[in-house]
Each structure stands twice: as C-alpha cells, then as structure tokens.
Assembly symmetry: C2
Homo-oligomer: 457 residues x 2
C-alpha cells in the first residue's frame, strides 16, 4: 500500500494522550416490536458472523519507518473482528445518564494503532425499550462528516428491510467513500483538515496565489474588528472526554426563526449563546467581551468559477447581553456580515480567508508548540445536515444520532449539531478536566430555547 | 512534592501505547443475602460519597519538565472521584466470559496522566448472584504485590462488618504502603523493578561489588546450561490485552504434590507446562527445546548476613515431554537445582544473579531498543501468597481474586497465581495480538491437572 498523504499522517503524528484524533457517533435505536431480552446480543453475534470487511476497515498505519515520520497504510489480513465489534451493558437503571457516561469513557481513550483504527460498540440495558451504538473512527481514516454519512449509509428507510449491513461490510453503498468530494464540502467539520486542504491547494496553484491570500488577509482584518476574549475553554487540554447529547424538535426552532426573521442556524447559535452565558455566569467565568464562535458554512462562490466552498464565519455570540432576543438579533447581524465578507470571492480566496482563524489549531496540534497568542475564537460550532426521514436498522428505528468531535489544544469544547427526522440533535464534546459538568449545558440549552420562545411570542 | 525517584519515573518514561505500565486486580464477590437489584449501584453511590482520598491516590505525575525527562509528583487537590470510581454493566447473559471480555478491555488502555494514576470499576450484571470489581493502578504508584495487598486490606474477615472502606480511603490500614519493604520482598512480581533495585544497591555498595557480580555470573553460566528456545511468546508486543482467570482447589494440587513428592509450586508449574504444551501443539508452534520459565522465589540467604531475598529461578518446563508425570519430575528437579545455585549466597549476590535474565526486559522497555538476542526465558510465572481466610466487603463474600500483570517486550504472556481461601487463583495476562484465544489455556490447565492426578493416583 502507498505512503499516506501528509494530510492523513499528520493526524497520526500529532496524536497524543491529550489529543486523541478520532471522531465518533452515538446512535439510539428503538427495539422492534416483539424483541426479546437477547435481541441485542443476538444482533451482535449476527454482526460477528459477517467476517467480510471492506478494505477501508482493514487499513492500519505502519511506521513511521524513517526519521521523516511518514506513515504508510498497510492492510490487516488477520483482522480480529471480536476486537473491533463489541457488546457492552449499561449499569442500572440504564438511563441516558449512564449511556453518556459510558460513551464519554469510550471516546476518551486512544485507538490501538496496531489494528485498523475503528471500534464499534453495541450497548444494551438502555431504558425505554432502546439500545445504542457508539462508533469510533480515527480521523486519518474518515473525517467527521464522512463518518456520520457512513453510519447512515448502513441504515434503511424501510422498516421491513431486514438485511444486516454494518458500516464495515463491503455491501454498504460506497458513495460516502468517494473521498474529500461531496462529504467534505457539505460542512467544514474539521478545522485542521481545512488548513491542510488550503496548503495543498495553494501548492497546486503556484506562486501567483500569494497575492490572492494577501488580499484576503487585508479584507478580513478590516471586517473582523472584534477580537475573541480569553475564556476557560481556551486553554491546554487533557486526555479524558465528557460527552453530552440531546435533540430538540426542528418545529420549535423554526417557529422562533420565523417570528424573529432569523435562520434556523441563527436560532441554534442563540440557543448555544444563552446556554454558554448561563454556564459561564454560574462558574463566575463569563468574559467581559462577547464569546466568538467559529461556524463552518457552505458558501456559494463566484458563479464564473463555479461550485461551493466552505467558509469559516466568526460570529459574535453576544454572551454579554442579558436578553435572549437581543442575543439572537446580534447573532443574526453578525452572521450576515460574516457571509458578506465572502461575497464574490473565488473558492481559493474563501479557503484562504477561512484558514486564518484556524491556523492556531493546526499549529497547536504539533507536539511542543505552546499557544501564547489570544484565541482567534472561543468555540467551534458545526451544523451538519442529516437525513429527513426516519432510518431503520433491521427494523429497529433510529431514534437519534449524535456526533462526537475532537476538542483541540486551546479549544476545549466542540458543539456539533445535525438534523434527523424532525429533530436537531446536539452533540457536545468537551475536555473532561477543563469543562466541568458539561451535561449541565443540556438543561441550559432548553432554558435558552424557552427564553427565545418567550422573547418572540 | 519531590522529584520522583528514577525507579518510579522510569515506568512513566518507558510507557507507550504498546507497553502500558499498570497492574490490575479482578475481584469477584457474592451478593449478600437479601441484596436487591440496586445493590451494586447503591454501593457505588455510597463509595462516591466518601470524598476523603488518601494522599497516595491524589498523586499525579508532572513533567517531564527538563530535557532529562525526570518526573515530579504533584498532588491533585481537585480530584474528580466520579472519573476514578466507575460503575459498569455487563452485557447479557453476564457470564464469566463477558466479565473477562470487559476486564481485558479495561486493562488494555492507558491511564490518563493528567489525573492520579488509578481507576476502580464496579461491575454489575454478573450471573450467579455476584458482582465484580476491577482495580487498575499505575506501576509508578504501586507494584503488583502491593496493589494486591492494598485491595485485601480494604476487606474484612468479619461478614458482619459493614463499614465501607474503599482502598483509596485514608481509613484503610496503611501497612501495605510502607514502601518497598515487606511487600516487595515477598515475591519479585516485577522483573524490571528487580533490575532497578539491583542497580540502586550496587551503586550503594561501591566498586567492591563488581567482583561479587562477576563471581555470580560465572556460577550462573556453569549451572544454567540450558538455553530458552525462541517461541511465539517472545516477540514484539502490541497494546491490547487479553485476560483469563480461574481458580482451582488447593486440595487437588496438594494431593498431587504429596503423591509425587513435589511442592505445590512444582505442581502449579506442571499445570502451566502441560497447558502451554497443548496450546502450542494445537497452534503448531511447540519449540523443539523445552520452554524455560522464570520464577521469582523468596530465598533464605546466608544466615550471617540475615534475611530473605528474591531470587529468579529459571525452570525447565519440560514441554517436550509427552507424559504429565515426567514433566512434573523434570520441573521438580529443575527447581531444586535452581535453588541450589543460590545456596549460601549473600542478598546482593542473589540480587545480582537474578538480575541477569531480567536485564533484557528492562532494556526492552526503553523506546527504540530492539531485542535481537534470543530470550533468556519464555514465560514469567509468579506465585504470590494470599489470605487463607474468606474476606468480606460490607458483608459481600469475596469469591475469588485474580491478578492482572504487565506483558513486556519479548514476553507476551504473564502468569501470576495467588492463593485465597482454599483456592489457587490463576491470572493470565497476554498481549492480545500475540497470544490468540488466551482463554483456551484455562481449559488446558484443568486438563493438565487431571493428567497429573491420573499419573500419580
């Protein structure tokens, strides 16, 4: 197998105990009617019998062989499926609390590099006639959006479809594997990869691009006049993770957006803003200046060049404002101004401009680099569109799906939301040592939405 | 807090994904009469309320600060007890198989260095009215024997004693913490520490000791005429672990020993020998020459110098012999010869001689060192004496206790046995990638004991 591209091997080189470089997904399923107590373990055994594993899930890193630290991929022909596909039980009483506790733990430790870089855990013992799965994939193998897509591609929109298709099966639809293409363009889930993509593109374009990037830099500095304050989220992080997740009906969010003349994405950001404000206030740690969020957005570029590009919009979260309505209005204006910056730009210009606030993250991944500059932003919030219709796995209806992302050095909290079957699903991944009582943010998100509903009723 | 001694910090420096440096213990308990379904989670909650944590369990490493890589201990005053003390459920049907599967997984990943280096997991959902605990402690904090003692010290021999005393509580008897003293002398559980102890002692004794060590080397090379063959256990190892455990009645082992004129330790080694022979035969991997085991033994030294010392005895396991009786006789003779080598030696001579076969392990721990020499032995087998009387934890009778040890580079399998309340408890810790179907050895140990019973009936 070939030497890995630098974009892949970087995730292996930069990884350390403190910075695991894997993404994850938590999926909740309803047990189908008539499922007995052994349904999940029978299902697990059935999965174990599907020994056919697609090439991507056999890949494991080899090296670094030389001093340059370049990794190569090799194929594991003696894959130990029992190692990768696990069955776990939740302790009683098997509430969502116990589920998130176990998921946090699973997301906190490193993948074994001597094996293909993925784990799949089925979890039984969940209250309310449900079970769950947690998927963990190394970033050098799949980025977050592709991983979410991959999980969805192994499901069916037909509840009577009883054909088991785990994500690692060669029989799963392969359109999600078409590389960086569609999946990566739909949302810049991954700030470090975005910077790397830029560098690759710039190299491809040659020296003429220096001028383009310089222009973009000037334009940015003129527009982004606010500066992110230092906050408790922008510190060196440790290895353990805490994960919290919950869904909210899209109808509630849509109603607020309609009444306020804002987009659903604005309302989602306002929910985050209100929750973060309350969380920081309770800890006596709310900065005097408003928090700044980095939001990856799919942007239409200059039509003559064609296509879409991902731009990073730095959004004023208005966490210093006490009223929910005021916060939403400030966020809405900030997002409009952010999008306007990119108006008429080419794809490369958008890439170059977006990379600027992300570069500290990429630099922070290199072992030994210490961040001394103030943060370019305080929290990364991604919104990844998901399937509208309910999906099924062997007749088990998927009730919810929640993304687990990567906290970076200096960015201890990541919020990723995805839509699914009438809900907006929030996944909050935090550094356990830095972000205490992360799960409290779930209640605060609900409070925040209620405040918005009151402000615009 | 002070800079760590080199003997402690070495375990932190040498640790890598492939070589986790923690020891563990698995304890099985019977649920007390009348225990309801929430017994374990109530117990867990009770433990969480004991926020008083002794200093040893607050220690976490800081550094390396300089280029010399010396670690210092620091005290964690904001210890997150919820992180360290965990509650897990076993998947159905909750057999020992599911218990060992989870324990293997827990033993396979690294401890978080940003926190005090221990984890304690309570496991519910075990068949037969039982629950289990798994304790994981970093080797820089406690060696294996001390960790076993520590777990025992938090138990009571009185079933009506309902005073909860988890191992991290300051109210637990502290005699196990008295450092290297008694605990370390009772069995050289830990080959690398033994080598380090030697180097420390030699440094203390000055240059005159060179002569002593040279004499011991000569004596050894004259006596240990056999050489360990290369085997599948003596290769580079990977990070994941597999653990198997089972107890056998001491009465059965004693009966064979009596009939054969051998010690119980000889019979235990003969059980291992027969099981390893069958295991390797089934894999077509039995070496032509007999496997050699390294056995730490407590030895009486020259009375004029006084005291005991740990000697490593290299024992011919006779795995090339087909008859169980012949194997036991060869093992018995080999152990007698091994002990005779040390006869009349001083403590330092015993230390020096014992260190010789262990040095490759110590060297193999240093990152980048590649072992090219043939192995000095094939498998490390330790026998740690344990309590004779049944112990109780808040009325829950401990049914069994099984040690989990550290496979080293070039030593993919470790067998540690301990006695408890009329049983000899075997704990087999293997590198998952190198030692396939480790649990098969449990059945082969039983077969091996049956063969010995037949041979001497």
């Amino acid at each position: 197998m070939p030497i890995m591209p630098v974009t892949d091997s970087m995730f292996l080189l930069a990884e350390s105990r403190e910075h695991p470089m894997h993404v994850g997904g938590l999926q909740l399923f309803e047990l189908p009617e008539g499922a007995g107590p052994d349904y999940v373990s029978d299902f697990h055994r059935q999965l174990m019998s599907l020994v056919d594993v697609r090439q991507l899930f056999r890949r494991r890193p080899r090296g670094p062989v030389g001093t340059v630290g370049q990794f190569a991929w090799t194929s594991d022909e003696q894959l130990d499926l029992e190692y990768h596909v696990r069955l776990s039980g939740l302790p009683r009483p098997g509430r969502v609390r116990e589920l998130l506790e176990l998921t946090s733990r699973l997301h906190g430790y490193l993948l074994d590099r001597h094996r293909p870089l993925w784990e799949f855990t089925m979890m039984e013992g969940l209250q309310g006639n449900r079970f769950a799965t947690y998927t963990k994939v190394h970033h050098s193998l799949l980025d977050g959006v592709s991983a979410l897509r991959l999980m969805q591609s192994s499901l069916s929109d037909d509840p009577s479809d009883m054909d088991v298709r785990p994500p690692w099966s060669p029989r799963v639809r392969t359109d999600v594997f078409s590389g960086g293409g569609r999946a990566r363009e739909s949302a810049a889930f991954d700030p470090v990869r975005a910077v790397q993509d830029l560098f690759q593109e710039v190299r491809g374009f040659g020296s003429a691009t220096t001028k383009v990037i310089n222009e973009a830099f000037r334009e940015q500095s003129a527009t982004l006049s606010f500066q992110a304050p230092r906050s408790m989220f922008n510190v060196a992080i440790t290895g353990a993770r805490r994960f919290a997740a919950q869904g909210w009906p899209l109808d509630r969010i849509r109603a607020v957006g309609k009444a306020a003349g804002a987009t659903m994405n604005d309302v989602m950001l306002a929910m985050c803003s209100g929750a973060l404000r309350r969380y920081l206030l309770d800890l006596g740690a709310l900065p005097d200046k408003p928090l700044v969020a980095a939001i990856p957005m799919s942007l239409r570029t200059d039509a003559s060049i064609g296509g879409n590009a991902i731009g990073i919009i730095l959004c004023d979260l208005a966490t210093t404002e006490a009223e929910a309505g005021d916060r939403l209005r400030t966020i809405h204006d900030s997002m409009l101004r952010g999008k306007a910056v990119y108006h008429g730009m080419s794809r490369l210009q958008i890439l170059a401009l977006s990379a600027v606030p992300l570069i500290p993250l990429a630099v922070g991944m290199i072992p030994g680099m210490v961040k001394v500059a103030p943060p370019a932003f305080n929290v990364l919030i991604s919104n990844v569109p998901g399937p509208r219709k309910p999906l099924y796995w062997n007749g088990a209806r998927m009730q919810g799906v929640y993304p687990l992302s990567i906290p970076y050095e200096g960015q201890a909290l990541n919020i990723t939301v995805t839509s699914y079957a009438g809900n907006l699903e929030f996944g909050l991944t935090g550094c356990r040592g830095t972000v205490p009582h992360l799960q409290r943010l779930l209640g605060l998100l609900e409070d925040s939405l209620v405040d918005l509903e009151k402000a615009f009723s």
